[in-house]
């Protein structure tokens, strides 16, 4: 039970951050996607099934925040997380930059899928927010990776 409780709690925290902090941290049309960054970080080292599940829940949370486009959010996040797993596995060396690239790729996939499933009303806005989002989320992924590494090293120390 614990192996899915921890990601769920992280996703709830990410949803809370998305609902409260994303607008404050927006730069023009570009907003950080905490849910996607956390979901990608949680999926990277796991299996495809876990990534699909995490992405699905992240999409569900994201759509519930504004009560809109649940299918577009769940599908785009689910496939983005699956892609994150595959890309991470394909990267030659694990590290913060790999995490940033994986998160950027996941953001791109989520954005493109959202374009076809969710059909945004303003295409230019979608383009700017997706490209900006890739950079923003990649930068956030560096931070999350650093926190994640510290967290896991402390846990392993505690076990010893």
């Amino acid at each position: 039970m614990r192996h899915w409780l921890s990601p769920l709690l992280w996703l709830i925290l990410a949803a809370a951050l998305q609902g409260s902090l994303a607008e404050r941290m927006s730069i023009g049309w570009v907003k950080p996607d905490f849910l996607l960054v956390i979901a990608a970080a949680l999926s990277m080292r796991g299996s495809v099934e876990a990534a699909a599940g995490i992405g699905f829940v992240a999409g569900l949370f994201h759509s519930a925040l504004w009560n809109e486009r649940v299918a577009a959010y769940t599908l785009s996040r689910m496939f983005a997380c699956v892609v994150a797993t595959r890309v991470y596995q394909a990267t030659p060396a694990a590290g913060p930059w790999a995490a940033a690239v994986v998160t950027g790729a996941a953001t791109l996939v989520a954005g493109v899928l959202f374009l076809f499933i969710g059909i945004p009303s303003d295409l230019l806005r979608w383009l700017v927010s997706t490209v900006g989002g890739i950079l923003y989320n990649a930068a956030l992924a560096l931070l999350v990776y650093a926190l994640q590494s510290r967290w896991s090293s402390r846990r392993s120390r505690d076990r010893i």
Binding site: I12, G59, F61
Partner: protein, 288 residues
């Protein structure tokens, strides 16, 4: 085997996504007359049960974080603007004290204006010119006042000094820009006075006593009752039998009256009509 399991899971999740999408759009289509749900960010949309359940989980921490960030933002802004706010408070305090001082000045001017209006609304004295003056020195123990008008304004010794409520005194010394007047209570003050009652009109001489009361002397035959001539509460005015004072200026009210049994003279104690300690502006009557 594992990839087929993943494919099945993904297929199931895709199906679930589609079902959820249909549920959500159906719920939104069933909005009837703008029905509102408290937990919904969009109040015009009816929320499907799944979204409602998810919101039940994620909205409380979102609200808590929102409040925390609001508080933190406000705190940071307050901290950053503390210097500016302090300066602003100092500026406002200075402005406030200035405003209060201005207000006090304005109130004083309003009071002065009111008093001057009262002086202007005094009854006309055709033979006299009214000169408004401020009391610049008040010496109640010597029963004297100094006014800021003098020869330049045409003030002459003997001119009566009064306020709307009655006679104040008489000018005795005049310089270029000021003059000194004896108050009605001064021991050397004397004026022809009349009992202002339709069935009396007795005339006598009113003098200051050097106290807060005046003495009225009426010379009459030493017989008969006192009551038709004078009684307590009667108003005493200037008699008009004088070249200095116009007739009818209120001087005071009779406190008590008695007859001297040997001389027959009627002696009355009169309380001045004017509260001399509170007078600020006066009118000096100068003969035209």
């Amino acid at each position: 085997m594992r990839s087929s399991r993943s494919a099945v899971l993904i297929f199931l999740l895709v199906c679930l996504s589609v079902v959820l999408g249909v549920l959500q759009s159906n719920a939104k289509k069933h909005v009837e007359g703008g029905a509102e749900t408290e937990s919904a960010p969009n109040p015009d949309a009816r929320i499907d049960p799944v979204t409602r359940a998810v919101q039940f989980v994620i909205l409380p921490p979102t609200r808590a974080l929102n409040r925390t960030f609001d508080f933190a933002g406000d705190t940071v802004v307050s901290f950053l603007e503390a210097g500016t706010l302090r300066r602003r408070v100092e500026e406002l305090e200075t402005t406030l004290s200035q405003t209060l001082a201005d207000r006090r000045k304005l109130e004083a001017l309003e009071r002065e204006n009111w008093r001057l209006r009262q002086l202007q609304e005094m009854p006309p004295y055709p033979q006299y010119q009214k000169i408004t003056a401020d009391i610049v020195a008040l010496n109640l123990s010597n029963h004297r006042i100094t006014l800021n008008v003098g020869e330049k304004q045409g003030v002459k010794p003997g001119a009566p000094v009064l306020v709307p409520s009655g006679l104040v005194g008489q000018v005795v010394e005049v310089s270029k820009g000021t003059c000194v007047a004896n108050l009605v209570t001064h021991p050397r003050f004397a004026v022809g006075a009349r009992v202002f009652r339709s069935d009396s009109q007795e005339v006598g001489i009113l003098r200051g006593r050097g106290s807060d009361q005046l003495a009225l002397t009426i010379y009459r035959e030493p017989t008969g009752s006192l009551d038709p001539i004078i009684r307590g509460g009667d108003e005493i005015t200037t008699s008009g039998l004088s070249i200095l004072y116009p007739e009818g200026i209120l001087i005071g009210r009779v406190a008590e009256a008695r007859r001297n049994r040997t001389t027959g003279v009627i002696e009355a104690t009169v309380v001045p009509a004017v509260n001399l300690a509170k007078v600020r502006e006066v009118v000096v009557l100068v003969k035209k």
